[in-house]
Amino acid sequence: MSEEHLTETGRRTLLKAAAWGAVGLLVPVRIAAAPPKGLAVGSSTPTSFEPSAWIRITQDGRITLTMAQIEMGQGAQTGLAAIIADELEVPFDSVRIEQAPADKERFGVQATGGSTSIREGWKPMREAGATARQMLIQAAAQQWKVEVGSLTARDGDVVHAASGRRAAYGSLVEAASRLPHPDKVFLKDATKFRLVGQSLPRIEGSAKVRGTAVFGIDAAIPARKIATLAQSPEFGGRLQSVKESTALAVPGVIRIVRLPDAVAVIADSMPQAQKGLEALEIGWSSGPLAQLNTAEIYADLAEATTRPGAVARSVGEPGKADGRRIEAVYQQPLLAHAPMEPMNCTVHVTADGCDVWTGTQVATDAQQAVAKLLGLPIGKVRIHVYLMGGGFGRRLETDGIIRAVEIGRVVKEPLQVIWTRAEDMQHDLYRPAYCDRIWATVDAAGKPTTWNHRIAGSSIMARLYPEAFKGVDSDAVECAAQPVYALSDLRVEFARVECGLPTSWWRGVGPTRSLFVIESFVDELATAARQDPVAYRLSILTDPRAREVLSLAAEKSGWGAKLPAGWGRGIALANAFGGYIALVAEVSIEPKEEVRVRRVVAVIDCGRAVNPDMVRAQIEGGVIFGAGAALMSEITVANGRVEQASYSDYPILTMVNAPNVDVHIVEGAEDPGGVGEIGTAAIAPAITNAIFAATRNRIRTLPVSRSQPVWMG
């Protein structure tokens, strides 16, 4: 790797950082060659060697890897640590992981989402590990007065094969930390990987099994008080009146905090706070959404698809009249995140600043938001980041942290704000509802000659980056604007329609929506052409990686083999998040017409699989997450209020109805793709296509439970 290359890497990192600012999901990472500010590099008595923001080696040989990325179950920290440790040539069990606090100067924007941790971290983390390794070798070469080329690094030692000399990294810390960063970074040859490509166990797995893993809700800051809250049940409503006396009479209740659109009860314990909240008599005033209901939301979306939207992409002559026209309209609901760990955040606002202890996917955004709210310099806000009991995009938002600070600023003690499950579900920022209209013309063989796709929905990007929004939500059109199929005359449009409810990222977001529509519609085209869904897809597919996962999924699932009566198979294909997946779902129709997903076969090509078992786990979990949503999850609205309040009215899959997912990994040498969302994004159409195969009933509206019962065991 040349110096030019590194310089180029640095420039691209900056460019990406700018683009990421617009996307908000991807994480700019510092290049390894740049030493972090304020570290001991070149100082007189270095006791630790910190060649980059992520690596610290101390004289006692301890190796600490600081993770700017957070862990919410996706395994990013284990993967990133393996990538660094491999290049650094240290045993995996010798590294210790430390979660970085919010520190933009050191780590850039800290955001974990968009299935980016491994694919964006791959190169910089390798460079970081390799840089450190080279500097340690350089230090040994100087001490021993031998050529750098005569030394190798192995298992945390620098080794001189000719003389048999060996030096532990810890002993080289002082010398290495005085060295300049190397001009050239030499990455390992892929054939020499020891850790990358291994199914290493999750770093925090043992703690999670023993119950000692510390999540945000477990941040038991001494002397803390507990609060729980009620936010206006009607979105846009305001707090009108509160009769406090009954709540204050509850033992342990300390104080009631009124906010413009919420009220909180502070107590010594959570049950006391909950009792206090239940005892409060609260009056809410109505706002502009008082009449809003689900039917109106869907009607507005459908109406928007009858008019041209902003053009996301136009190629060739999509408007030409060319063959038989086929059209379909698809509808998808608002969705909640419903992570197992309800929203919670501990804050301590003092004269000296503000400490925040919480699980967040966006530590630096949170820091900025709190600083702004309290009028503090950024350095006075300390965000301590914890493990998350599920993120799925919910913790990419800072609303829960802001709420906690709004409440916590009125008391002198640390305050932990814990949301009830109902509050968590009714005050989410929801995956938008969408309506898609798609039409194509087909030739005599049934292949599309033109392709028009109009998407109507809320724009998350427009809310987050209003200046950059020019009419097309780049996330919403993902996968739709660049379909995996060979389509020469294509137009994709986006119409922004806001119903008034807050919307945000969700597992897969745009691709999850786009793929349900595209993969359903392609199936409809196959039916119209009287062709097998796999054969039809292959006939309009040139991308070799897509063809391979599709063909392999057909093979592994026994595509075409006879199924029992009332069963059906459906397939879906995706190119998203830097990888390819094909899913085959097998469903049966049970005696009472219930849909039961029996099995899912997945073939994933994510390029190099850094940790194959973690890849399998993400596909298994992602498929089950998406299958539950496709089958039966829907947030509905009546009079501006969300009607669901628990897992009984917002059901998710359980042990009895979660399908087994057989995952096959296509071994690839390409740089890693993301795997956290692609399974979720592609499963809905595999299921509805399977239902069609079983029943000839084409489901164009999600969830499936709107049109057919779902088997609950």
Binding site: E341, F392, A617
Partner: protein, 154 residues
């Protein structure tokens, strides 16, 4: 009210009103935070622990109902061979993702395996009712079979 309860083999003292959920007494007063709050209404099961031999939802179990029944939480699971075997099976099959529900899944599995040493898939389906948002169910099932058969079967 003051309650003396037996938790993981030791007598512990809790000061709480009689309707205080066991979950919060453990978490807030005894510092046993492996048992999680998920829904507060006994639905999701993230708060599952053992009361006597039974797996119960501690978010809807009042402290006054504990009496002299032994409480076992995830922190005390490795005190017996079955508990250790279940935890090991969980590790062997890399079950956990976010991990929030897993202490409850493990408690639920142990209680079942005490009654049904080698459960069928159907028995697992009806006994294992703790929700997992990450979708680790197939691995939980496999880990239960592995633990049931002495840690040998995947």
């Amino acid at each position: 009210m003051k309650y003396a309860i037996t938790v993981n083999g030791a007598t512990r003292s809790v000061e709480a009103s009689e309707d205080t959920p066991l979950l919060w007494a453990l978490r807030e007063q005894l510092g046993l935070q492996g048992t999680k709050f998920g829904c507060g209404v006994g639905q999701c099961g993230a708060c599952t622990l053992h009361l006597g031999e039974e797996a119960v939802r501690s978010c809807v179990t009042p402290i006054s109902a504990v009496g002299d029944m032994a409480v076992r939480t995830i922190e005390g699971v490795d005190q017996d061979a079955l508990g250790k075997r279940v935890q090991q099976a969980w590790l062997d099959l890399a079950v956990v993702q976010c991990g929030y529900c897993q202490p409850a899944q493990i408690m639920s599995a142990i209680a079942m395996l005490r009654r049904i040493p080698d459960p069928t898939d159907e028995q697992i389906d009806s006994e294992m009712t703790v929700l997992c948002r990450c979708g680790t169910y197939p691995r939980i099932r496999a880990a239960i079979h592995r633990a049931a058969r002495g840690g040998t079967v995947r």
